[in-house]
Amino acid sequence: MEHARSWTIQITVLSALMGGLVALSLKTQDRILKDQLPDVRQGRLARAFVELREDATSLRRQVLDLQKRLREYQLQTGSDSEKSKLLAQDLMVANMLAGTVSVSGPGVAVTLRDSKLAEKKPEDISEADWRDLSEEYYIHDRDIRDVVNELRASGAEAISVNDQRVSGLTPIRCVGPVVMVNDVRTAGSPVIVRAIGDPDALLSGMMMTKGVLDAFRDVDPTMVSIDKVKAQTLPAYTGSTALRYAKVANDVKANEAQIKSENAEKLGDKAVQDPQSVNRDRGQK
């Protein structure tokens, strides 16, 4: 009987240990899922990923701080003399255009949402067919880009997507279920596009028949909502502003490029309106 008790104790203790290990394993997996680590097996990569992401967050905060400090310096130099005041004003306008300062003003907020219809698959459709069909129930990066483009065409002066400022260098793309704006992962649904400009002009640009949002109205009108906003603040662009390749061109060459582009437009018009006229011109020469 002594012997029997010995094995019971040992096995029970080891069972408790195993239970603990299983729980630990579950919790670790849970954490991995929550952190959206790329793959469990690539442990070293996973760790590097977490570290880099933390680095990126702190660096972005640093950029914000430095930008703020820079702006203070600019404002201070602006108060010295008339000349430097003008210069500082110009600089501020350039900053606003570039998106490197946060701006506020009236405008619209466009909210794009994945359709609720995407959640329940009709039973009489195969999995593969449904994947194709449900495609249009989701918000895609191209939809967001279209909205941004249309807002710009309607006179938006500053745009942000999911509180990431859209600058001249901003890519917008989907990576799985998230939207990357300025290489920052943001929510895939709802996507909130804010624009500063004339609210009525922006709204009518959005509502245009055959416009960017027309397709959604056919699929599911609840996917889009547009609100006029009296005052909103868009954050500053915090990505890299270091230029490695682009240089300021000299004026003569810049003018040449401008004239060339204007001529190209004229030629294009002619070709569209009257294809023969181009040939005729050539024939005369």
């Binding site: 029970t12 080891l14 069972s15 408790a16 299983v22 670790t28 469990v40």
Partner: protein, 116 residues
């Protein structure tokens, strides 16, 4: 004898809930080693129960078997990680196979005991 069969189940439940409701978590780096340790523990438990049912249980063999299996499996996982080959699969297959074998033997022993 019948009551003793439930002891491991109680053990697992207690151990699980103690760790699960504590705040302690492990770095994701150790996740693959952890799953190997779980497998080795499960194998040792199955082997231990089987030996006990057969009346061949020996103190030292049970504990050392568990420790050495775990260490070896972790070592294989580590080496595999270094040279880029999943050697750890060897341990997984081996331990998994043994678990099934032992479980079937336990089942047979219990059934024959129940009928006789």
């Amino acid at each position: 004898m019948k009551a003793q069969i439930w002891f491991p189940v109680v053990g697992v439940t207690v151990g699980f809930s103690v760790v699960f409701f504590s705040k302690y978590t492990l770095s994701p780096t150790f996740a693959p080693y952890l799953s190997i340790a779980v497998l080795a523990a499960l194998d040792a438990i199955c082997g231990g129960i089987r030996a006990a049912l057969e009346g061949k249980f020996t103190d030292g063999i049970f504990i050392t078997g568990f420790i050495i299996n775990t260490v070896l499996a972790a070592l294989l996982a580590w080496i595999g990680d270094k040279i880029g080959v999943d050697i750890v699969l060897a341990a997984v297959v081996m331990l998994g196979g043994r678990i099934f074998l032992n479980l079937s033997l336990i089942r047979r022993l219990l059934l024959t005991k129940a009928t006789s």
